[in-house]
């Protein structure tokens, strides 16, 4: 950070633009802001160079100075990206610097968009920078459910077509191994295995945005690799056994069966292991059985839903009542 921009010869030809906070018109009792002087000065020079759209080394340094004081200043990031590309700077060096900023400000999301803008440059990055997954794993070590980082990682997969990259699945498995309740990792796994590929528009599941497909058909793959489906179902079962009350793995299994166009019934035997008379090891298993029985044995389905309502999930009593009503008149 410069000692003072006003005393720096490099900045002598710039007339800083003071913040017009409206206070001169007397309009602003709600928002007059007591800024630290360094920040006020730096941003006054920033306004001046931005107004002139100056693409220079000194402007680049200035953006870094402002970011170091306030990384949530959304305007400065846009300007910085423009300068980096205009001056043809070393983007890898920028990424290295960004890594540190990202680790320091875990909740900031301007940083992630900035990263995406830079890596989108096909001239600089015809393929993914090889250290990207390492850095993302470093971020996940801080917060393995960081929504910005996962959204960025999803973008990377689509941008560089990484659905079958071994590293993607390896990282997801490591994260699920470390915390089987990491719903973000489960979502990423689903996108890798069953999400739309590059021949169709992106969506949460195949055909989600397709108006010509009925809701029941959404998520169903046109071509199913049964071996892959079986492997994923086996994986889900292993994870369910680790933590039977974990919603994420149960939802994943439902998503896999949906993608394959297969019913919940094929898991009846496995799921039954968690519900033995009055000994219930997983409320999700009870719900699963209710869904299976709902197809034919409605009386048994009501029994399951009643267990959920009365014993395992009473906080959602009205929801379970609705489900019971939906089954209609049953003995």
């Amino acid at each position: 950070m410069a000692e003072s921009y006003a005393n720096d010869p490099e900045w002598a030809n710039i007339t800083p633009i003071e913040l017009d906070d409206g206070s001169e018109s007397g309009a602003m009792p709600l928002a007059t802001i007591a800024y630290p002087t360094e920040y006020l000065e730096a941003t006054s020079y920033l306004r001046a160079v931005m107004a002139a759209n100056e693409m220079s080394e000194r402007a680049l340094k200035l953006t870094k100075d402002v970011i170091s004081m306030n990384p949530a200043h959304y305007t400065v990031w846009i300007y910085r990206a423009k300068i980096l590309l205009a001056l043809d700077k070393d983007i890898l060096e920028e990424l290295n610097w960004l890594n540190g900023v990202s680790l320091k400000y875990l909740k900031n999301y301007q940083i992630w968009h900035h990263r995406q803008v830079l890596i989108s440059s096909k001239t600089h990055f015809p393929t993914m920078p090889p250290k990207e997954p390492d850095f993302l794993m470093e971020m996940f070590a801080q917060d393995s459910k960081n929504y910005h980082v996962w959204t960025y990682r999803h973008w990377l997969v689509r941008h560089f077509k990484l659905w079958d990259s071994p590293r993607e699945l390896e990282d997801v498995e490591a994260l699920i191994k470390a915390d089987v309740r990491n719903n973000s990792a489960w979502n990423h796994r689903y996108m890798l295995r069953f999400g739309p590929r590059d021949d169709v528009p992106d969506a949460g599941m195949v055909n989600a945005g397709n108006a010509d497909i009925s809701p029941e058909e959404k998520g169903r793959l046109p071509v199913v690799d049964e071996d892959s489906v079986d492997a994923e179902l086996k994986y889900a079962q292993e994870q369910i056994l680790r933590a039977p009350e974990n919603r994420s793995s149960w939802w994943y299994a439902r998503g896999v069966l949906r993608a394959a166009g297969r019913g919940l019934g094929e898991w009846e035997e496995f799921v039954g292991r968690f519900v033995d008379g009055n000994v219930v090891k997983s409320s999700h298993a009870v719900e699963w059985l209710a869904d299976v029985y709902g197809e034919g044995e409605k009386g048994k389905a009501v029994e399951m839903l009643t267990m959920l309502k009365e014993k395992y999930d009473p906080i959602r009593k009205n929801y379970w009542d609705y489900r019971i009503q939906q089954l209609g008149e049953v003995a």
């Binding site: 009792p29 630290p36 309740r181 949460g204 998503g255 959602r316």
Partner: protein, 334 residues
């Protein structure tokens, strides 16, 4: 409006089930006296959002005149840029999120006509700015010209344009189809296609579909199941599976359930009890969880969530716009 957290802490006493209205009013009014605190300028990038949160909370608390109306309008207008959009504070670039807050504030204080009198180009110019941020290919909306995409921006665009009576400036069918593409295998919605389901994003998607008149596209039972699962034993809602509860999700999850007519699927009493434990009974304000520092964001969404549950003493909130129902009724009666 300062977004500085604290100074108070949420009481966290489960026996305290009273809403301390006058304390919350005083807390919000006093935010303006804290401009000498370090965090104040660090949150400058949220200032206009902060005014919307504070103002709306005051209206819901039944104290609509607690902030000076003229100064509020002056401040909003001072954030407008030449392109018609609004920045977070004077001198900041225009962005969707602040433009939406600006319109919500002006509608709440019944001053949209000020855009014609003193604004830069009237409401048509504001509408044109919002419309310019729609991606003509896929129907999504960006936050600003820089291109970040988020279902929040799409919802915000439809929210503000509908309040201004300018929905015809954008391609609604394309926007609707984009939202549909954000639906996940678990029945809920993410920030972009393929991103993990998140309660905040569910609110934006369901809200946008409601404004577009296309709630028929939502599988209400499936989404309702996912949303009601967000209530955990202590009564609070989390934003995603296996995450901690947070008072603000009383709003994001609760309003989404209300829009699809499934709010009764959760235990409202337990939810209200959790949110009330997040208030500071002495100095006012709400925190994310019992025992944590209060801030204006959680104060606003905590109160809005309680209003949704029909807590006595609060004005009714509109689940789509997150503004008082009476304000929305007045706006659409015009």
């Amino acid at each position: 409006m300062a977004l500085v957290s604290g100074p108070g802490r949420a009481g966290g006493i489960s026996s305290d089930q009273e809403l301390h209205i006058s304390k919350h009013v005083a807390y919000i009014k006093n935010l303006d006296t804290r401009k000498d605190e370090l965090e104040y300028w660090l949150t400058e990038h949220l200032r206009l959002n902060g005014v919307y949160w504070g103002l709306t909370a005051l209206h819901l608390l039944g104290h609509p005149d607690a902030l000076p109306r003229n100064e509020t309008i002056d401040f909003v207008l001072s954030c407008q840029k030449d392109n018609g959009g609004f920045g977070a504070a004077p001198g900041h670039d225009a962005h969707m999120l602040y433009t939406v807050s600006a319109i919500q504030i002006l509608v709440t204080v019944d001053a949209v006509d000020e855009l014609e009198k003193r604004g830069l180009g009237g409401k048509q110019k504001v509408g044109a700015f919002i419309a310019s941020l729609q991606n003509k290919e896929d129907g999504s909306f960006m936050g600003d010209q820089w291109g970040e995409t988020d279902t929040r921006f799409l919802y915000g665009a439809l929210n503000a344009l509908s309040l201004l009576g300018l929905l015809d400036l954008v391609d609604i069918p394309k926007a609707v189809s984009y939202i549909q593409s954000c639906e996940n295998f678990d029945g809920a919605y993410g920030v972009t296609p393929g991103a993990e389901s998140h309660s905040g994003q569910v609110f934006t998607c369901v809200g946008a579909l409601t404004i577009a008149g296309r709630l028929d596209l939502v599988n209400k039972d499936r989404l309702g199941a996912w949303l009601s699962e967000r209530q955990i034993d202590k009564g609070g809602f989390n934003g995603r599976p296996e995450k901690l509860p947070d008072a603000c999700y009383a709003w994001w999850v609760g309003s989404s359930l209300a829009m699809i007519d499934r709010l009764h699927w959760i235990d409202g009493k337990k939810l209200a009890s959790f949110v009330l434990q997040c208030q500071d009974p002495e100095a006012g304000g709400f925190a994310d969880r019992p025992g944590n520092m209060v801030d204006v964001y959680h104060t606003h969404f905590g109160i809005a969530g309680l209003s949704l549950l029909g807590l006595e003493g609060l004005q009714e909130v509109d689940p789509v716009y997150c503004m008082p129902k009476s304000v929305i009724a007045r706006c659409f009666a015009k």
